[in-house]
Symmetry: C2
Subunit: 564 residues, 2 copies
Amino acid sequence: MAQKPSIPKGTRDFSPAEVAKRNYIIQNIKKHFETFGFMPIETPSFENSDTLMGKYGEEGDRLIFKILNSGEFLDKFNSLIIQTIKSAVIYHHSAVVYLNENEASISDLEQYKSQFFNDFKDHLKSDKEIKNLGSKISLDDLVSDIWNFLIQHTVQTDELQDSFIEKNEDDLDEYIFQIFGSFYYDLEYKYLTEYISEKALRYDLTVPFARYVVMHQNEIDFPFKRYQIQPVWRADRPQKGRFREFYQCDADVVGANSLLQEAEFVQLYDAVFTDLGLKGTTIKINNRKILSGIAEVIGAKHLLVDFTVALDKLDKIGEEKVKAEMMEKGISENAIAKAQPLFEMTGSASEQLEQLKTLLANSEVGMLGVAELEEIISTVGMIGLQSAQLQLDVTLARGLNYYTGAIFEVAAPDGVSMGSIGGGGRYDNLTSIFNGPDISGVGISFGLDRIYLVLEELGLFPDSLDTSLDVLCLNFGKQEGLASLKLVSSLRQLGLRADLYPMDAKMQKQFKYADKRGVPYVVLLGEQELAEGKFVAKNMKTGDQKAYGLDAFAQFAEAVKSDF
Amino acid sequence: MAQKPSIPKGTRDFSPAEVAKRNYIIQNIKKHFETFGFMPIETPSFENSDTLMGKYGEEGDRLIFKILNSGEFLDKFNSLIIQTIKSAVIYHHSAVVYLNENEASISDLEQYKSQFFNDFKDHLKSDKEIKNLGSKISLDDLVSDIWNFLIQHTVQTDELQDSFIEKNEDDLDEYIFQIFGSFYYDLEYKYLTEYISEKALRYDLTVPFARYVVMHQNEIDFPFKRYQIQPVWRADRPQKGRFREFYQCDADVVGANSLLQEAEFVQLYDAVFTDLGLKGTTIKINNRKILSGIAEVIGAKHLLVDFTVALDKLDKIGEEKVKAEMMEKGISENAIAKAQPLFEMTGSASEQLEQLKTLLANSEVGMLGVAELEEIISTVGMIGLQSAQLQLDVTLARGLNYYTGAIFEVAAPDGVSMGSIGGGGRYDNLTSIFNGPDISGVGISFGLDRIYLVLEELGLFPDSLDTSLDVLCLNFGKQEGLASLKLVSSLRQLGLRADLYPMDAKMQKQFKYADKRGVPYVVLLGEQELAEGKFVAKNMKTGDQKAYGLDAFAQFAEAVKSDF
């Protein structure tokens, strides 16, 4: 291995300083998740492919990292195809013999297909070797493909079968391969991906959570408030701020319909961001039902998705372009004109709600959305927020196909250019994708990487994170080193992060190391100190030195802790 | 999706109660890693395949989970092979023309191979499309394979080339496939695995750490004490206690040769297990140099690995069978007789060291091992251990090919049947596998899953882990609910884990929920309490009830906290 080692694109190493900062954010989020009554669960990093595939749309399926089955899959796959072809030929041949005996022509085979074909299928399914080899793919489909090929190409299976007898195993494989040529190759391409991979890395935390709820529904006490902080993986093109491995921090409640939940999530955002010192965040809120109502009253109900996808871009591309996109998608000029109030919404949340009531007066679903929003906003208003502001934003769409009620998104304080640092909403049918009970859920997510960048930009990480060691004992040689180790051991037992420089190096080198690790206290325990039964502690910030008796380590520990 | 959802074999979901217990262990280990001056790093879940492959032996390579490249790899792979064959045919044809013009026969082609073949290779490598398609495999090898096939099979490339011109793209692919038949298929099998996977899931934390140290050597201040607690994945056959996804908890020092490190790791084990309440663990210690010395003095130096692999089984299979295995491996009866003292080692560590000094008197490396062990044991003895005992075990081998000095292994307290719950040692050349500087390292690992099982068996998890909520406010309806939410919000801001039951359900149901979550305090804030401006707190253990004014929440919070 001659090349310089590297890591896959879109992934990251985290240095101690970075881990400290990331953990600071994670611990903060975790603490508030817990004070809000959420409980942690963890799910495996990879799930069965069919748990994930088809849950994120076509684009999502493409971005799921698939894991190769272990073992010599290509050989096994090959054997499976060969075995299945062999059996098909034998069955086909007996079908032909039967037809001849009954004076029917080979072109009548189609009529008899079900009889022979089903016998053949049953035979294959009871064949232990084939069952074993083929457990990962749809054997039914494979068998049908082969059978149809034999019939459609009027393959002379009598000749084939005769030659099967003459040839040894290896020659036979080769022979079959030559006879079936490109058809063989088609089969391979059709079934190989399915055959070689049956597990995939988690793409988000929501689908695994839904799977968890369905699998464990009998052990769970509903309403179930769960949080989950784990990495997810996406085979997306890496970009600035977009990674192939990143953490999601999710909290969800399932089994509770009350709108109190929505109010609590607004408070939860406020609690976390306030605690992180990130004041002035904006929690945007909307409701899927309002979007449905608008589409309804302007007569574009059938174009709801196109309408909201366009509307969602108002921030980025402006009113004119949004309207142009809507027209392009087939929404009439008249409909767009009716939606004009949306583009002119102003004032406080309650003023906007009044405007919406006028606009949506004739839409039942729309008025329901307004009522829900009104209740959430009034509940939050009653309890109050510490540092965030709640803002109604009727253009907020976010994962529309997914959410059925409230929609949330959090924007960083003004002046920080960053996409949303959190988002979520209410969904009604999450567990039904796994045939689970139809449980309503609502949840939010924190964007760890973006929050990190915002705190970094605003200088909000506490200085104490730079310190990974409270006390460093310098190493003056063997005897002194042993005494120092004993002192260090005592300090550690009192909870201090303490260390002895591991070797007897030059003082300058040892001080430089102390400096780089940002150690606030350096302890000197040299020959003289040892003889006098004491040690000297140097405060690296002030330069002050103080001597302590070797037994007075607890007193020193108190002094160090008082600086925290 | 009709089937009941499941998770891949060898993986696990963790419920809130399990996560709480796992985190209890992890936080404990982490705390002591930090008081011992270790700093956290994190590395990506997947690495480039060539970072991992070949580092764990043949068996290890097989157990590494490979990740499928994203995108339509089969189509691309197919295009690559077709394109390369086409180019080869064209070049081969011009070679034949050249030979004809120069009145040489086609059998002389071998002589001219380098001329035409190298031209051909250069052409291919400058072909952007092929370069792009083939970036993941060794194009040189592929091209050689095709060229050799053309020559060895005296393929009529002139005819082929003519037919290339007549056919359209699709027909041509099919035609090429038919002509090359099984050769095409051989190519596919030879190059496909390499082509479809270039990333693999982390198999342990040590190799990624070595890669990290080499990649970041200019940013790291040595000696570097790092810890890392992350999951690893192995495609091992799942068994009781053996999983395909599990956490490793590693601490290593690199760049420090002093034996003080070894002594510190013994203390670290002692600190963690003492803190977990797991008293009476045995920290076994040995030294690779002693094993080398023994093999040397008994004249079986060349059979060191076989000798120690057999010796390592003494605990499990007993003296007779160990000796039988040694003989089977070619170690002479005479040599085994010389090793007899090993089987009869008794007494304290220092007594055993004396016996070893006699046995190893003529082995330089062996005596070095004894001296190292002596120093470590005496250092540990001087500082003392809290609850563990240090035990010399000359039969301990553990990852012999890897360790070069001290070897550690921790056994659970007597009476608990469980394999080792931790292990480690010193290695000298870790980073050299990545052409890094030759840095000595020493490290240990904690076995999270096994520690979990031991704590569970001995009932050592604190009861407090069962509580995931400190206060549950019952829900008496809309008005009371709002007042409760305000109270809950105040309690949360004081750091309590508090919640309002999310809906106005039957009291019995709400109390049952409180019970299941093990909530110590339930708050009642019904119509009457609300009218009187107070709430009632019920201690669920004692049944005592106490009323507080709505503004006196801080007083209540203190009462709750005093129970912690």
